[in-house]
């Protein structure tokens, strides 16, 4: 940005208001960015239309005034300090919208003064070099303001959209709980956290008994309803903020329980078995008392390496398999090395 001071046009500043418009100044007046020019004393000698419409003052109210008289809030502000530094050193400055709250009291046109209408702005402070300024008899500082509000808004819109897509990619559309991907990512994070704090990470694997029979007998829409009912129930059982419930596979659910040693995991697992049974969802095709039941495998460990996430899943899987082998509708858990069966009454 330069006003070609060597052409001597800058001396024509007062001329502009007199009606004799040198064309570079006329162009600046209509520029779609804010322009404000200060002389060596900090007096406003030029301001363009764009700036006027967004600050709420008339040309007459600004010209000949000190910047800090019109905008007292700028005295001692970050902008004020950078301006003073720039004028003293003769070196230009950038004030990005990213690092600061808006610097100048500029608003969306027609909403001047409205606190929600303040423009996000990038400000350039450009002292017009000593040679150029000398030619026109002094020092001038150009303050250029770019409105980045639309950019900022677009950024936040795109970010929200991205967040939305990201979370959608992790949610199971049928049950509205986390999906397998969500489970895997959370598991990795929690294993690292447990390693750091040397705390137990618990895991439950939950499988609805004879679910294939259920689908065959009642049809898939009913099967979907059953999965939703079970997911809703699990949501009630899994309550602590960091606990994570996910749909692991077709009729299989997983629950991560950070900071929970095996006895705590077993306790939650038993509650799951009992409460699914207590739901009393009819299951005429199940040999286990005519209601929907589940088998649960429980495991817990204090991980020493990130790879132990695989080991934790395998332990819970083995316990689940043991629960099924032992007759379903019950919980099994892995102790130190072998699978201990904690028998449940087949039907309470």
């Amino acid at each position: 940005m330069s006003i070609a001071p060597e052409s001597g046009r800058l001396t024509g500043l007062p001329m502009f208001n007199g009606g004799a418009e040198p064309w570079p100044l006329a162009a600046l007046v209509h520029l779609q960015a804010g322009i404000l020019v200060l002389d060596a004393q900090g007096t406003i000698v030029f301001v363009n239309e764009w700036f006027l419409r967004r600050c709420g003052f008339s040309n007459a109210a600004l010209i000949g005034q000190k910047l800090t008289e019109v905008f007292p809030q700028l005295a001692g502000s970050y902008f004020g300090k950078r301006l003073a530094l720039s004028q003293a050193s003769g070196l230009p400055a950038v004030l990005s919208h990213s690092l600061h709250a808006p610097q100048l009291p500029l608003y969306m046109p027609h909403m001047v003064g409205h606190p929600h209408a303040v423009l996000s702005q990038t400000v350039h402070i450009i002292p017009m070099g000593k040679e150029g300024a000398a030619q026109v008899g002094g020092h001038f500082t150009l303050i250029q303001v770019t409105d980045v509000t639309p950019t900022v808004r677009r950024e936040s819109l795109l970010r929200n959209r991205a967040d939305q897509l990201h979370s959608m990619a992790r949610i199971d559309s049928l049950t509205c709980i986390g999906n397998r991907r969500d489970f895997s990512e959370t598991l990795d994070v929690e294993v690292l956290a447990a390693m750091r704090t040397q705390s137990s990470l618990g895991l439950l694997m939950i499988d609805i008994d004879f679910f294939k029979n259920y689908n065959d007998h009642y049809g898939h829409p009913a099967g979907d309803r059953c999965l939703r009912d079970v997911a809703d129930l699990l949501r009630k059982v899994v309550r602590r903020p960091r606990d994570r419930l996910a749909r692991y596979g077709g009729e299989e659910f997983a629950v991560l329980l950070p900071g929970t040693p095996i006895d705590g995991v077993v306790e939650v697992g038993r509650e799951v078995v009992q409460r699914i049974r207590a739901l009393g969802l009819p299951h005429a095709a199940s040999p286990l008392g005519g209601v929907v039941t589940a088998s649960v495998g429980a495991a817990s460990l204090v991980p020493k390496a990130a790879e132990e996430s695989v080991f934790l899943v395998r332990q819970a899987d083995e316990a689940l398999y043991a629960a099924k082998s032992a007759g379903r509708n019950r919980l099994c858990f892995t102790g130190a090395s072998q699978v201990d069966v904690a028998p449940e009454p087949p039907f309470a």
Binding site: S89, A93, V94, H97, S98, L99, K130, E155
Partner: protein, 200 residues
């Protein structure tokens, strides 16, 4: 260009003074103490940069560039490892925003950080040597050290390399400042340093 030990010391002191002023401005932005330290200043010819930096010369960097003209013509560049630029911005805005939310803001924020630092350092040199400099506005580049410093370019250009370390709330980012000087500017700088040291 060759500078004796006294001249290098004087330059290092001017750089430190400028960097101190920049740290003050950064602390105001960050709302937390930002400390900047200059562990060392090196003077190399342009084609020595490659040899000196080894593999580092191929490292991807975010660079902020400004030109200065007047008694001395210098091209000043602030460089960070490309992946650390974002972290620096995060440190400046308080560190609560996650990195991915800052990505869009990075360039502009870096240009301001570079602008403050380069201007502070150049102003400190200009003040001490009592010269007047004009400067350009900053531009941001994502490139490699050897391209940013154009190590294949005119070999008579000297490069002042300054390691710089940003520290905010126990987090650190290492960067590098480079000042590229053409031959007349090297002569002028030597002369002015000699004058300054002899107290003329």
């Amino acid at each position: 260009m060759k500078l004796d030990e006294l001249s290098m010391d004087a330059l290092t002191e001017m750089f430190n003074l400028g960097v101190g002023q920049a740290a003050h401005a950064f602390s105001q932005i960050a709302g937390d103490t930002v400390s900047l330290t200059v562990p060392r200043v090196l003077l190399l010819s342009r084609n020595q940069v490659n040899k000196h930096m080894g593999l580092g010369a191929q490292a991807a960097v975010s660079a902020v560039r400004q030109q200065y003209s007047g008694a001395i013509n210098a091209e000043a560049v602030l460089m960070f490892p490309a992946e650390r630029g974002l972290q620096l911005v995060q440190m400046m805005v308080g560190g609560e925003l996650p990195l991915d939310q800052l990505a869009e803001m990075e360039q502009e924020a870096l240009s301001e950080i570079g602008n403050i630092l380069l201007n502070s350092v150049m102003a400190s040199v200009a003040d001490t040597l009592k010269i007047k400099l004009d400067g350009s506005l900053p531009s941001v580049e994502l490139s490699h050290v050897q391209d940013v410093l154009a190590v294949d370019g005119n070999p008579s250009v000297s490069v002042l390399l300054i390691d710089i370390q940003f520290e905010v709330a126990a987090r650190e980012v290492q960067g590098m400042l480079a000042f590229l000087l053409d031959v007349p500017s090297q002569d002028m700088l030597e002369l002015m340093l000699a004058r300054f040291l002899s107290g003329v």
